[in-house]
Amino acid sequence: MNTQAIASPDARADTAPLPASKPDHPLRETLKIFLKNKSAAGGLILLTIILLGTTIGPALYGVDAYEMVWMPLSPPGDGTPLGTDYIGRDILAGILIGGRVTLIVGAASAVMTIVIGILVGAFSGFFGGRVDAALMKFTEFFQVLPSLLLAMVLVTIFSPSIGTIIFAIGIVGWAQVARLTRAEFLRIGNLEYVKAARAAGARDGYLMFRVILPGSLPPIIVSSALVTGASILFEAGLGYLGLGDPNTLSWGMIIGQNQNYLLDAWWTVTCPGIAIFLTVLAISLIGDGINDALNPRARKRA
């Protein structure tokens, strides 16, 4: 609540940086507001724990996730902390190692989604006219197709591997980002400082990516948190459907492989699902926190 006073010099587009100066002051303020937000800080801590768990966790825990280590389908606490799956593999070890693929694929495909979205949206919003109409039709095409289905088809046809999964998720989800970027480009493109830069003879590429893009970043950054969460859910969905990389475990894959034992061994599907849930939740909380920090005025309304 009391952060509102600090936030009054609006960190949004009004203070968007001139090409030469670096906006480190507003950024520091944004960071301050972000960290004072309890749920955002909680999300950050949660995500840190998850990252540590998946990077150094497997080494610390020391159980091979791919080996049969105990009686199949034994419940949590009975020899293993989170029980075993249908072929006697340790669920906790699976969750620790399985998070790697989920997080790598989630992050990489989110980056791809955002880059494609920004490029399409930027060209569309900057050039307008026919370019805009054509690119927006293209975007609409991807918005209309059920994205998961298209990703399933792509991964099936090009056979599942980490690379094809990242590609498939990245190629189907960018429409929203493109629309957002386009709207920001249309708005900022008419502001005085952009006109000034144009009058000073800046080239198109410079105008697009050095003058307009920095000003349109705040909403894109916020939506990139949503995109990352969605990509992780996407990867989990593909893994669940049996379209994960066959060489490595992932959270969705553990759930999919054990779904037939759901009624006898609830832990096999419940625990990996909680891992997915907490990861996406952490990212959502961070995204909300960034939104509040970058756009303090929106807090009153929403």
């Binding site: 059920p146 998961l148 379209l243 309304r301 929403a302």
Partner: protein, 326 residues
Amino acid sequence: MDTFQRLSSTFKRLLEAFLLVMAVVVLNFLLIQLAPGDPVEVIVGEMGGASEELMAQLRAQYGLDRPVIEQLGIYVGKVLTGDLGYSYYFNTPVLDLLLQRVPATVLLVMTALFLSVLVGTIAGAVSAKKPDGIGSHIVTIISLVGYSAPVFWIGMMLIILFASMWPIFPVAGMYSIRRPDGFAYYVDILHHLALPAITLATIYVAFYSRLARTSMIEVLGQDYIRTARAKGLSERKVVWKHGLKNGLIPIVTMVGLQFGQLFAGAVLVETVFNWPGLGRLAYESILRRDYPTLLGILLFSAVLVMIANALTDLAYRWIDPRIRKT
């Protein structure tokens, strides 16, 4: 003149929808071309092997020895006449297979959509009346959970809770093993529908309640609402009649845009609940690498989304008279 304009705009929209569907057809063709191995190899694999001569003969029969652009023409022609290929695994023409599965998916998706819009709008409107109240916080928390949990996992949790621990709903499927007759038959389907529909609705309840809240807060702050209050209308009438009608507009827009994603969610939910729709079929055809069926589903879903968008458009005109004029 007015009627003519409306007709021409309807025609334009139909044409756009048609072109979009044709784009999916072309995409399907490109995917077949890009896939490693040609269709004949797949067919021969299903048959259990064949000689080089037979393979060459099959390639000629399917026109695979012709130039790519000619093949595209043949493919488009086939799709336009309703020939979506043949599923070797299910041993049925793909079109028949899809038509069998469409009703179950439409039932599931429409029920989930109805549930999520209804619950989401009410939750959103209630919390918009008191933006800082407890109800508003609950909506925020529920929508965070709905956003973050994988939909297939929510389904499994509901199965564990309401079909196993407290068995009030069936675990999976669409009918009981012994199908009852008459009215009981429909009750049986509804009984099976409950859990999958609730599962699919959860994500969108979260989404629509958030959207409805933002939209209602904005609408309730407008002048005409103050006028309605000033002329002495009951608060209930102000919120639920005057407010909601305008508050619904962004929701209807999103329903149209989100329909494709709802369909994608159906793939996962149908797989969890063994619901005999297109989504479950997609899962089965992935397991069998049954490309004709998979691509047919992609095309069909695009068509369904186009139909849904057209219906949204109608609903939009009904809710917002301003659009009727243009």
